[in-house]
């Protein structure tokens, strides 16, 4: 067991939407520098967990401490140390990347000159050097996703929460981001990585958490999960989420045309 203090500590996290329980008591500890792969089927509670961690949802039961600070009482300090890249590339696209990042950076209390210099370097590194001064309404989904990635990192956060960060990215950018995740972890950043892309989760994560119907059903490194449940992460996923019948589903679709 690692002797380090956990940077994220979740105890009995519960959340209901009306009468429907979405999170049913999650307990979790994440260490500094860990890359956590957070996977689960649609509606399992992944997005709700992320929204709670990022402060978007405040009415939940249980306790969460991040870097020793309580999420309920120290929300601003916690927000300052988290970078978030959402799944959907929703941004104010009538702005240019630099204008958008200037806005975001200032919300984090950064100085204009620092934001401009860092944003330029990060965007250039992700291949957007030519697009710095162009309005984002002309951008492809991948280009917008790159801007969101930069927006998540602009303030150099301790913790990075990535929700499907590779969505829409081209192959080169995917390689860059995967490499980036590894480097950031080496730098001591904690990464909470939500995705449906099992092969990527397999490769980038130190530890994989599988959530199903509001509870964590698997927690361990890929090697551990493989030994316990199956040869690939897809098999582990299908077995633990009770969706072994996916091949039957495909057969049913083919049968519908006959």
């Amino acid at each position: 067991m690692n002797q380090q203090e956990p940077i994220i500590c979740i105890r009995d996290l519960r959340k209901n939407y009306g009468s429907k329980a979405v999170l049913k008591g999650i307990d979790l500890e994440i260490l500094p520098g860990e890359v956590i792969g957070y996977i689960g089927p649609n509606g399992a509670g992944k997005s709700t967990t992320v929204k709670i961690l990022t402060g978007l949802i405040s009415d939940f039961a249980g306790t969460i401490t991040i870097d020793g600070k309580d999420l309920r009482t120290d929300i601003l300090a916690i927000k300052a140390m988290i970078g978030y890249v959402p799944e959907n590339a929703e941004l104010y696209e009538v702005l240019t990347p630099l204008e958008y990042l200037d806005f975001i950076g200032k919300l984090y209390g950064m100085e204009e000159a620092v934001i401009a210099a860092r944003a330029t370097k990060l965007l250039t590194a992700l291949g957007l050097a030519e697009q710095l001064y162009k309005r984002m309404d002309t951008f492809s989904k991948g280009m917008r996703q790159k801007v969101l990635l930069v927006a998540g990192m602009i303030h150099n956060p301790k913790i990075l929460i990535l929700d499907e960060p590779l969505s829409g990215l081209d192959a080169n950018a995917v390689i860059t981001v995967k490499e980036l995740i590894a480097r950031l972890a080496q730098e001591g950043k904690t990464i909470f990585y939500c995705s449906h892309m099992m092969d990527v989760v397999e490769k980038v994560s130190d530890r994989i958490l599988l959530i199903n119907e509001g509870t964590i059903v698997a927690n361990g490194s890929f090697e551990q999960l493989k030994q316990e449940h199956g040869a690939t992460l897809e098999h582990v996923f299908a077995k633990l989420t009770g969706r072994n019948d996916m091949t039957d589903g495909a057969a049913a679709i083919i049968a519908a045309f006959k």
Partner: protein, 558 residues
């Protein structure tokens, strides 16, 4: 009703079959397009209907009917029939062109066709015909709405023959409008990107609402003026080159005027749509379709080559002048840039800004001041003597109400997650940037213009009036923002303004009260200076506390 229209269209199925049109596909394409039209948000007068409705195109037709009633001014108030129909069809065509440009943009620039219809096995003839018939039906609804009041009036006042001629005239006017709109589209699509073109359409929508507003207030006065009443059509040669006068000539011919002028103009009116039709068929089906097909890709490429938007440098400069802290600066620049680049905001707010000069012009110069008919010079003297220019200073504050009503709303409201994941410890500072941007961008320009005009036409003595009204404007802006804004800028879905009627009414009453106080004190220069200094101080104190406001009413809307 749509089913009936489609059945009517399909009566020509033998012709369609000969043209290799798939009538089943044509019917379903028309059905779906008309269904989508009926569910489209209304944007007439720059306002969108906030709740869902299933009868948009019919409501739009009704609204155009109301505009058609406004056009009746021309027929009722001008005594000379030739001139009255020339003015009527001039205004009719201007309105129809503007409506068609705005409405065509939604129909023609709908990129969904590229993804939904074109990849399916629909042949080109069916696709093109569906598009043309759809445009025809949409246009038909608009034309009927706009022309119906004039048609009824002509029937009741001028008789049966005039009524039938009126239908013919409307048909000619419509075809000419289609030609003009097509020309506009062909030219614009050649030179502008989709983005710029849509911006232009938004500005035309704004121009349209302003035109209606200006017409409503100024046309009756203008038509009754001696200038118009003494205008003689037959001796005013410049009127002859207007297509509206060619169309109007048909009524003269109908009344038995077979003079060379009436016959020539009538024939011109008949020839123009024929030529227009040939031009439309040739250009519409070729250049237009080709341009449209490449629009979604081409538009992006053209736009991507653009330079840094010009609003950015202005935003930076003004933000540096008016804000100190980074977060306030961020709010200022954000609002400045987004308000200048978002179509839906512009179509809602810009008309209200334009209404200010129109309405002020009406009140100062066109309003009926009593039994004595004053000329413009005498009216201006009256404005100076009675200090009614003060009204203009306070009236422009109403723009701020509109700005703050829409400043929180956006089609891109989902992008507002950034506010809630960032550590905004002093939301009051951010909102102070928002407030200052709105005030500087949407109110100070009026004050600047009033200052220049005031000093030029009234003299330096007007400065204290402007300073006092600006200070009152600052206080009003703070109050409006505090009472009506309940979200970060552009963070909420577009919805109906609820529960603001009373607060808006109270604010207007307060502004009116201060305005009246100003009016009664205006003769005493020192008192006005004193009040100006007092209200400036109050404004500064209020702004200080505004920056400390917690804005706890703002919550994240999942």
């Amino acid at each position: 009703m749509n089913k009936l229209i489609i059945r009517f269209v399909l009566l020509l199925h033998p012709i369609y079959n000969r043209l290799q049109v798939d009538t089943r596909q044509l019917a379903i394409l028309l059905h779906t397009k008309l269904l989508m039209d009926d569910r489209r948000p209304l944007n007439t007068f720059g306002n969108r209907a906030k709740k869902e409705n299933n009868y948009s195109s019919w409501i739009n037709m009704l609204l155009l009917g109301i505009m058609g009633c406004v056009l009746l001014f021309f027929l009722v108030l001008i005594d000379k029939p030739y001139l009255s129909y020339t003015s009527y069809f001039g205004a009719f065509m201007a309105m129809l062109c503007l409506t068609l440009i705005a409405d065509f943009s939604v129909i023609l620039l709908d990129e969904r066709d590229q993804y939904v219809v074109l990849p399916r096995p629909v042949n080109d003839v069916t696709f093109t015909l569906a598009r043309i018939v759809h445009i025809g039906i949409s246009m038909g609804k608009q034309v009927v709405g706009l022309a119906l009041p004039g048609w009824v009036y002509t029937w009741l006042v001028k008789g049966w023959l005039a009524m039938f001629i009126f239908v013919w005239q409307v048909l000619i006017a419509t075809i000419i409008c289609v030609l003009l709109v097509n020309l506009f589209y062909l030219v614009m699509m050649r030179w502008l990107s989709v983005q710029r073109f849509k911006d232009l359409v938004a500005y035309l929508q704004i121009a349209f609402s302003i035109l209606i507003f200006a017409m409503y207030y100024t046309v009756p006065g203008l038509l009754q003026s001696a200038l118009v009443q003494q205008l003689d059509f037959k001796s005013t040669h410049w009127l002859w080159v207007m297509p509206a006068s060619w169309i109007a000539a048909w009524q003269e011919v109908g009344k038995g005027d077979f003079s060379l002028l009436a016959i020539t103009l009538s024939i011109s009116a008949w020839l123009l749509p024929v030529l227009a039709f040939v031009f439309i068929v040739r250009r519409f089906s070729k250049g237009f379709h080709a341009a449209l097909a490449g629009m979604s890709v081409g538009g992006r490429n053209i736009q991507a080559g653009g330079a840094l938007p010009s609003t950015s440098s202005w935003a930076n400069r003004c933000a540096a002048w008016f804000t100190r802290e980074p977060i306030e600066n961020a709010g200022f620049k954000f609002v400045w840039m987004i308000t200048g680049r978002t179509r839906e905001f512009k179509t809602k707010v810009y008309p209200s800004m334009a209404y200010v000069p129109v309405y002020c012009g009406f009140l100062l110069f066109f309003r009926n001041n009593g039994p004595e008919k004053l000329n413009l010079e005498e009216r201006w003297q009256q404005v100076l003597d009675q200090h009614t220019y003060l009204f203009v200073l306070y009236f422009s504050l109403l723009t701020l109400l509109t700005v703050f009503q829409f400043i929180t709303q956006s089609e891109r409201y989902k992008a507002a997650w950034v506010y809630f994941i960032t550590p905004i410890d002093r939301p009051g500072l951010l909102m102070s940037g928002v407030l200052k941007a709105a005030f500087v961008k949407f109110y100070l320009p009026f004050m600047f213009v009033f200052t220049v005009l005031g000093i030029s036409f009234i003299g330096i003595s007007v400065l204290n009036d402007i300073l006092l009204s600006t200070a009152v404007g600052g206080i009003a802006a703070i109050l409006i923002c505090l009472l009506t804004v309940n979200g970060y800028p552009f963070s909420q879905p577009i919805k109906k303004a609820e529960g603001r009627f009373i607060s808006n009414l109270l604010l207007m009453a307060l502004i009116g009260l201060i305005g009246f106080g100003h009016y009664f004190a205006v003769e005493h220069e020192l008192v006005v200076w004193g009040l100006a200094v007092f209200f400036c101080s109050v404004c500064a104190v209020m702004l200080h506390f505004f920056k400390k406001e917690k804005w706890e009413k703002i919550i994240f809307n999942e």
